[in-house]
Chain length 290, copies 6
Amino acid sequence: MSTPAPAIALAPALLPDTEAISAIVRLALAEDVGRSDLTTEATVPPGARAVAEIRQKQEGVLCGLPVVERVFRAVDPAVQVLALAEEGSWGAGRVVARIVGPACAVLIGERTALNFLGRLSGVATMSRRAAQRVVGTSTRVLDTRKTTPGHRALEKYAVRVGGCSNHRGGLDDGILIKENHIRAAGGITSAVSAALRRTAPMQQVEVEVTTLAELDEAIAAGAHVVLVDNAGLEGLRAAVARAAGRVRLEASGGVTLATLAEVARTGVDYVSLGALTHSAGSLDFSLIVL
Amino acid sequence: MSTPAPAIALAPALLPDTEAISAIVRLALAEDVGRSDLTTEATVPPGARAVAEIRQKQEGVLCGLPVVERVFRAVDPAVQVLALAEEGSWGAGRVVARIVGPACAVLIGERTALNFLGRLSGVATMSRRAAQRVVGTSTRVLDTRKTTPGHRALEKYAVRVGGCSNHRGGLDDGILIKENHIRAAGGITSAVSAALRRTAPMQQVEVEVTTLAELDEAIAAGAHVVLVDNAGLEGLRAAVARAAGRVRLEASGGVTLATLAEVARTGVDYVSLGALTHSAGSLDFSLIVL
Amino acid sequence: MSTPAPAIALAPALLPDTEAISAIVRLALAEDVGRSDLTTEATVPPGARAVAEIRQKQEGVLCGLPVVERVFRAVDPAVQVLALAEEGSWGAGRVVARIVGPACAVLIGERTALNFLGRLSGVATMSRRAAQRVVGTSTRVLDTRKTTPGHRALEKYAVRVGGCSNHRGGLDDGILIKENHIRAAGGITSAVSAALRRTAPMQQVEVEVTTLAELDEAIAAGAHVVLVDNAGLEGLRAAVARAAGRVRLEASGGVTLATLAEVARTGVDYVSLGALTHSAGSLDFSLIVL
Amino acid sequence: MSTPAPAIALAPALLPDTEAISAIVRLALAEDVGRSDLTTEATVPPGARAVAEIRQKQEGVLCGLPVVERVFRAVDPAVQVLALAEEGSWGAGRVVARIVGPACAVLIGERTALNFLGRLSGVATMSRRAAQRVVGTSTRVLDTRKTTPGHRALEKYAVRVGGCSNHRGGLDDGILIKENHIRAAGGITSAVSAALRRTAPMQQVEVEVTTLAELDEAIAAGAHVVLVDNAGLEGLRAAVARAAGRVRLEASGGVTLATLAEVARTGVDYVSLGALTHSAGSLDFSLIVL
Amino acid sequence: MSTPAPAIALAPALLPDTEAISAIVRLALAEDVGRSDLTTEATVPPGARAVAEIRQKQEGVLCGLPVVERVFRAVDPAVQVLALAEEGSWGAGRVVARIVGPACAVLIGERTALNFLGRLSGVATMSRRAAQRVVGTSTRVLDTRKTTPGHRALEKYAVRVGGCSNHRGGLDDGILIKENHIRAAGGITSAVSAALRRTAPMQQVEVEVTTLAELDEAIAAGAHVVLVDNAGLEGLRAAVARAAGRVRLEASGGVTLATLAEVARTGVDYVSLGALTHSAGSLDFSLIVL
Amino acid sequence: MSTPAPAIALAPALLPDTEAISAIVRLALAEDVGRSDLTTEATVPPGARAVAEIRQKQEGVLCGLPVVERVFRAVDPAVQVLALAEEGSWGAGRVVARIVGPACAVLIGERTALNFLGRLSGVATMSRRAAQRVVGTSTRVLDTRKTTPGHRALEKYAVRVGGCSNHRGGLDDGILIKENHIRAAGGITSAVSAALRRTAPMQQVEVEVTTLAELDEAIAAGAHVVLVDNAGLEGLRAAVARAAGRVRLEASGGVTLATLAEVARTGVDYVSLGALTHSAGSLDFSLIVL
């Protein structure tokens, strides 16, 4: 698989500095280190320093350097991480960072840092491929909540680094009424109107439908966005026509990288892809002490 | 992909009840729920109860029901999870559990529970396939430390459910001297002898080598297990011959499901496969409120 | 101050069961109990049980019984809290709950429970008064982020119990571009368009303006909601006329209970009132062991 | 309301550096920031720096700058807080601090910092007014345990900054036998003598009474301090006469700023005022990026 | 060493149910269990139940059953601990508790439970011996802050179970001015008067002295309790004579079980003994599965 | 007791920098400081600095300076700890460290730092004495899991500083099959073979026996190490003869410092001594502000 084209316009992506991210970093180090790194303790002379390089062995988007930095900083604030390639850049067979500091700390953090880096680069790489499929359309590719438990903020960041967009971050920052909610509320109309009462000024209501009749009901009830579930290309085109701009439409379910471009051409506003985070795989990186 | 044969003998696998597992479950729920589930709060009548079913849509090993139970119990201890298929069993298109309890709690826990279940079943499925490749040999297939950060204990459990074995759990429960340690210690001999002084009675020393000369040195230094890195079939056969039972041998690097059987037939004691945990993918499950 | 009229239609308000709320309850108990309740330990016979009543001494909305329950449950799960008045009801001079359980636990939890109850009832009471001022208009009264640190979820719940609506819960569940952001982004237009790229499908962009020219710019830039800051009645009427339904408008700044009705009659969609949470005061409750 | 006179002698007040205070600061930031500050992330250029000023808009005692510093430091240690007015000083319409650092961090911490500052300044201001009422008497004005849950240490600090004194910090650092304890122990005499057995050398026993007969019993039982509850001026004078210096007396219940001076003139040693912390209100401060 | 006489009157001692105690229990289990109990996992059939007995092998005071219960409850709430001997009773060669529950949980909690039980029984036994030395005098034997880090509340409880009294629990629940504070404050007089301003109504001031002149100064300054450090019997008698009941006196430093009775006969009010907690040793207990 | 001879060869011992150690340090400070250090707050002028010395008053091995440093750093990162004697060195009547920093922080951390230092030095001193008893033999002296709850990593470090070796760190880093496990598994043979299936490559299986017949069974089952419980010198010699190098042997139970040399001369590979950690006592240190 060669360097991807066409190029896409990327917005700058920031990794937030929150307790949730510190927590998964701490948890990851704790589970790997346990009581102490026996091997390093036994074999590395106290006080020894190390310079190491992280090398990207597989082709794809580099994503996760800020996490690498937090991992090593959590092991020992004296470790320094110098980026040698740009977060979000495409490449392979290259040195992406230099790690300098106490040798023990470098070896203790190695595996955890690489585990994060490989996975986030995997997500960003798949997101980049998805984003490229819709270049030239006005459709945005979205992630879902099918993320690795405990890695939500990290993977949503990797999706942005890759060039796709984030759907809501969790159950509390957006209302998305699904089949189970509709049944509980006694129908689309009552579900949507209950939801409208609970929204803050800048929040809207999205509702999932499976038929055009449900789409009509959602629009009439005041929904702002409608998720069209598993509709197929024909179904999506019909929904776009029926909605006629009165609501925005999200295609979801059964979309793959291969069908993405065609789905976008139906005119839907959004396509969401669980695979961006649950099936992205991991890119191979290694750390070598010089 | 059909039901796998031949059958393998599975040891019972227990999911430990530790703080590390509670921590990742709490973290996962916290990141998904945030301040509260706005949609459920708005649409589900207070006091409503639900009966739901979890359905396995893709073929493979079911793994993670104990985690599903902990997720829902963490949301609300009043939720009950009834297993309808056996943990570790192979299947597809089947209902694997029934969830009964307050409707809000069922909907709040749904996504987190499914995210754990899909991933662990993915790991167990790949482990089952690996275990089947070595049936009839005395070689054990091992996982590595290339696990999802924060999911170490869960994924090692899934590996056991699948039928493979666990390598060490972390840096503190086994000494494995790698290239970087050897260089820091000034050679295999000095690294191994330093390590031997640090072991508890039931702990042994493993060391990584890349040549037969290094293998000789490792044996002479008193190593108990030798990891032969990226050796190829020829190299492994040579190592087995040279070791002649004086140390146990682990093959690592560049092994895939496709080459696993052949690697096992070289006579190595262990083969370790990072892919069991870093590239296993996710099985598709859904939760439907009845 | 007498029983309020006219009656308003209240939506059911739920107190979410999140870690953030457990955390403030635990923190509150820890700071009060410290090493142990010396007085209770010295004077209450081990094993003694108590029945106690919580009495509402000041007139207003009862709010906080679910928190009272969590406080006592955190002290000792054996304590039972029986509601004798309805959460959200208006009253005075009445017994609102009966507490039954180990005497030590009842006495240990007393002050913390009452401190929560008094403050939340204060917020709900002020919110009720605010909600009544706008009955008959389509304006919604909103809270702000000027809440007691650590009590955000509780106070937003009290606002709902009182009959007003919640603005966003925090910095992550809605985009509200204020003066400082506009300056940093180099103007309303660039701020809004950057924000639009960052929104999830069901999220909109709100922007703060102080002049009609800025209102025009905000609308042109694609903002969905505009916060008109400190505009006075004249200014609000002008903004409503100019917006002409193209965006929703929020009046903020300088509004009091006394001016609320008049502000609502300008036709703005929302009025936000920091005083609901930062100046609501506390209602007096007492706990007496029978 | 003008600048207060007469001046009172203030002891230096320190804000302790404890985990309880870190905890409420972290909790407050976590609830406000959640997953990340969407607006700042979208609109503020990465790397931008800001200089901001905090302005005190309402007249009163400035209190809380050390908390402001901890809030910003918790967001980003690179933020610097420079005090431009003295903690504990009286003023209005003045710049009290300058904040310098990464623009994102300044904006993320703004609301939380102001929420703390406004409330603590409110408590300190009311405490200053109370302290001034008793100038010239030997009576000390005390706070109570009717503090905001989770803010005990902060508000007790604000009380000291204001010029009043602290009653006990919690249930573990002083014995105060109240009505419910007396009933549980079977009377004042047995409660006090049980308590005396439990005290450390530097701890004394306080007991609440409502009649002169109970005061007599408390003195005879060996109590060191007696809280006279809701006695009225006549009752307090009678208690002072009866105690005749054998115990110290605390007046509690029904005292307001308006009656404080008169209560002090009865000769009681202490007056405790719940309103210092539960009804102090909040002073208005704003942060403006220059 | 035989069963101790004479009998002493014991006050009931309660183990508080605080977060600090839960924390040390959790920490202790976490450090022992780590990732999981490998041996139990491998050898105990899933679902097996066990009945076990805890046997006291060495003579002394039984202390710590409530902690044993919390340890097993923390491992698995299904474990039941039945006391067969009374907390605080003297004995040897006896079964003190029966443990019933899941076999895995019983084995996992065993060592941690016994480690707590042995140490607390050691402290209680030494305290019992100390308390017996002062029977018939009015002197109380006190512990100090020389406790095992993280075990303060537990060991202070064991001291009470043994029959001695607790000095202050920590730095926040009593003022004890030592040599270093006196120097920092510029003398006894200024230190005591500063401290008097900081006390709550039921708190007093204790100060450490080494000469009669300092004792005079402490009394004149208004101290309530004076700690006479390392004075010897003569010095203590002189201090008692000079104090003449104006302050209470605490003897500290250089006191042993052997000299305790004589020290008490000097007439000091308190003797404090660091050895109660820092040199008490551990009693031997074992757990046997029946 | 004089300076010990003969000298033993010490391996460098490192104190790991893990969350478990931070946790016990935090817990220890929290329990001592509570709400704040009232005495220091009242008597030490704000801003005062202090230089203090820690003096070792009792003869023995100095152990714990890295913990002293972490204690003071946790109180205030501005405190500096300068070692004046070497960790692991033997001495008495000497200054071992100088503490420089804010006077308040020095006084707040004093007691906690000394409590750790005294106990760890006690453990290291006893370990040194034990190590000296076996000089000239090939036997290693091991600690056990009978450590102070929450102090496992610290005490195991002190054992290494003293010159002995560590047995496993906890239940997860080594398999040691004891009597209760054997009974649960239905015999030594089935227990060992179940355990062998659960080991990682570098892990071995140890099993406890009480007779030569059991020793035979353990060897036949494939155990690698055998713990011979309470066997007496005769029994140990018989076991050594019977094992004939096929397994390593650990003597445990009933060994004291006095009998240690003789036990070692039986030829066992290991002797484990619970007393190293549960009965080591505490060395006396003091901190004096200069």
